[in-house]
């Protein structure tokens, strides 16, 4: 059990490439922090710095209140699940899980007890005598989890652990990881580029872009109040509709924000209304349907409006057809405003 604190952490690679440009995050004991962002945003580098696999150019990383900058990965008492699982191919599942315990000089019967207990939790008991190459992707993933859990470390680190699984398995494992993490109560840092994983797993969601933190907080707060156009378009699927506001752009008849350059609303916050039937402070757009995507429980209408593309979610089957003209209305309380630099205006 431990807290993880990052204070102004920076990473500069040779040739002055700044991968991480001053990140400060405080993760409370037992919480799951998800770092999310597009590839190349520095999230994996940050995770590897917490693990001790990358040196820290400046700033501090503390685990349980102790600065670990100078401590190697071997002595940080962390466990990591790698994207490719990194199972030792020449060892049986049992030995893969026991390896870390043996290195730390745990007594043999204690190792056996813990490996078998962990295998039971993860339903790996029947696989203990197999080698990694005889396992399916999902099983390998579980072994990688087991290898992390069995050591009972201070911190779990996950580096895109589900990205090599198919969609269905990914959904299952997501729930399982969440439950395991909660029941074990081990502080965790989880890196992903999948916003759905990020939203569903995180206690603390950190959205990163180009080496900096765009926004950090509770996932639903971030969803409801994205701090920038980047966060607005990254979190949520399909992403928020963003339109140029002001002169010649889209704007409600009244109540426009001072200094706003962009106006946004979520696909599910848009309503289809009859012509002229909208409050004065709502955003009303004349849209032409370009494509309809029925998903079953809901449908997405891809439309052209005010010189941009927007997506509108309607529940159930959509009555609209490509080529139809609609009036799309987003109410004032559902509108998000951003200034010219992309920051939120409230």
């Amino acid at each position: 059990m431990a807290t993880v604190d990052l204070k102004d952490v920076r990473k500069t690679y040779p040739g002055n490439v700044e991968a991480v440009k001053g990140v400060s995050i405080a993760i409370a004991d037992g919480k799951l922090c998800v770092l999310v962002g597009p590839s190349g945003c520095g999230k994996s580098t940050l995770l590897r710095m917490i693990a001790g696999l990358e040196t820290i150019t400046s700033g501090t990383v503390s685990i349980d209140g102790k600065v670990v900058n100078a401590i190697g990965p071997t002595d940080r008492d962390i466990a990591m699940v790698f994207q490719n699982y990194a199972l030792y191919p020449h060892m049986k599942v049992y030995d893969n899980m026991a390896y870390g315990l043996r290195n730390r000089g745990t007594p043999k019967d204690e190792i056996d007890r813990r490996v078998r207990a962990t295998a039971k939790t993860l339903e790996l008991e029947h696989l203990l005598e197999r080698r990694p190459r005889e396992l399916s992707g999902g099983q390998r993933q579980r072994v990688a989890m087991g290898r992390a859990i069995v050591r009972n470390p201070k911190v779990f680190l996950f580096d895109e652990p589900l990205s090599n699984l198919d969609a269905k398995l990914r959904g299952q494992m997501r729930v399982e990881i969440k439950n395991l993490q909660r029941s074990l109560g081990v502080t965790s840092v989880y890196v992903t580029h999948d916003q759905l994983e990020a939203m569903t797993l995180a206690d603390l969601l950190v959205v990163m872009n180009a080496g900096t933190v765009e926004q950090a907080g509770n996932p639903l707060d971030i969803y409801e109040k994205p701090a920038s156009t980047f966060v607005a378009s990254f979190i949520g699927a399909p992403p928020m509709n963003l339109l140029p506001a002001g002169q010649g752009g889209a704007a409600p008849a009244s109540g426009a924000r001072e200094g706003a350059a962009t106006i946004g609303f979520r696909p599910e916050d848009a309503e289809i209304a009859n012509a002229g039937d909208a409050p004065a402070d709502a955003l009303a757009l004349d849209a032409e349907v370009e494509a309809v995507e029925p998903v079953g429980a809901e449908s997405f209408l891809y439309c052209a409006a005010a010189g941009s593309r927007i997506v509108v979610r309607v529940s159930g089957r959509a009555a609209a057809q490509p080529g139809d003209r609609l009036r799309v209305v987003a109410r004032a309380e559902k509108l998000h405003w951003f200034d010219a630099s992309g920051r939120r205006v409230d």
Binding site: P73, A79, N84, A86, Y88, P89, Y99, R147
Partner: protein, 294 residues
Amino acid sequence: MTPRVVFPNKFLPYLLLAPQLAITLVFFYWPASQALYQSVLKEDPFGLRSRFVGLDNFRRVLADPNYLNSVEVTAIFSTATAFFSMAIALLLAVMADKVIRGRGFYRTLMIWPYAVAPAIAGMLWIFLFNPSIGSLAYLLRWVGISWDPLLNGPQAMVMVVSAAAWKQISYNFLFFVAGLQAIPKSLIEAAAIDGARPTKRFWTIVFPLLAPTTFFLLVINTTYAFFDTFGIIHAVTGGGPGKATETLVFKVYSDGALNQLLGDSAAQSVILMIIVIALTAVQFRYVERKVHYG
């Protein structure tokens, strides 16, 4: 499963195989069968007539103390050469794996000795270790070792083993470097996080994963030490002093080509062939079991 290739013409596959088969026939099966044939013949001193003597040649060779000495020399020489050339190459490869700047340059330098012909490698070592003019011999005497490989058998052995191992290091190095690069970095990182320090990581993760490479090199190096070191021994010691560095392959040459004992020499090459075949078979049968391929 890859689909089977079907040739429209019945003879085309054989035609395509023919050059390879021809080379094997001419350069291996023909000389080998000649050796087999010669090994059961006895030739008169003038090489005019030969007569069938059955296994007499083999009996005489195996009863000859000189031959048994040569077996012992070969065992020591081959084991030492294979071991040192592989161990040093592995050490260098592990070191080279850690080099970040000038990696390519460093590796290129390491590979050069392989391009040196055996006889020249031998000459190089003669010059280095010659008791009267060798610079390394001078150094050895300076630290108090009475260095004289021309008279001292074990010292001569050290010299030929050094030369033979040195020449093979580059080759082994190349394979070890490739083998090390094929080990995913994340495995090493996982082991580090799992609490294994560098030495432990090497012996529990890296070395077992290198096993396919090591096994391949073991087979290659054994064969090398048995056969391809003739040039080095010929140049450095000529099998001497006494018969201290006379390996089996060298004895085949000296008995056959110098002493003109064709029957004995042929019998020896047949025995040598059997030894190497048996050794390789043992390696595949027992050592390979411990090797995991990916």
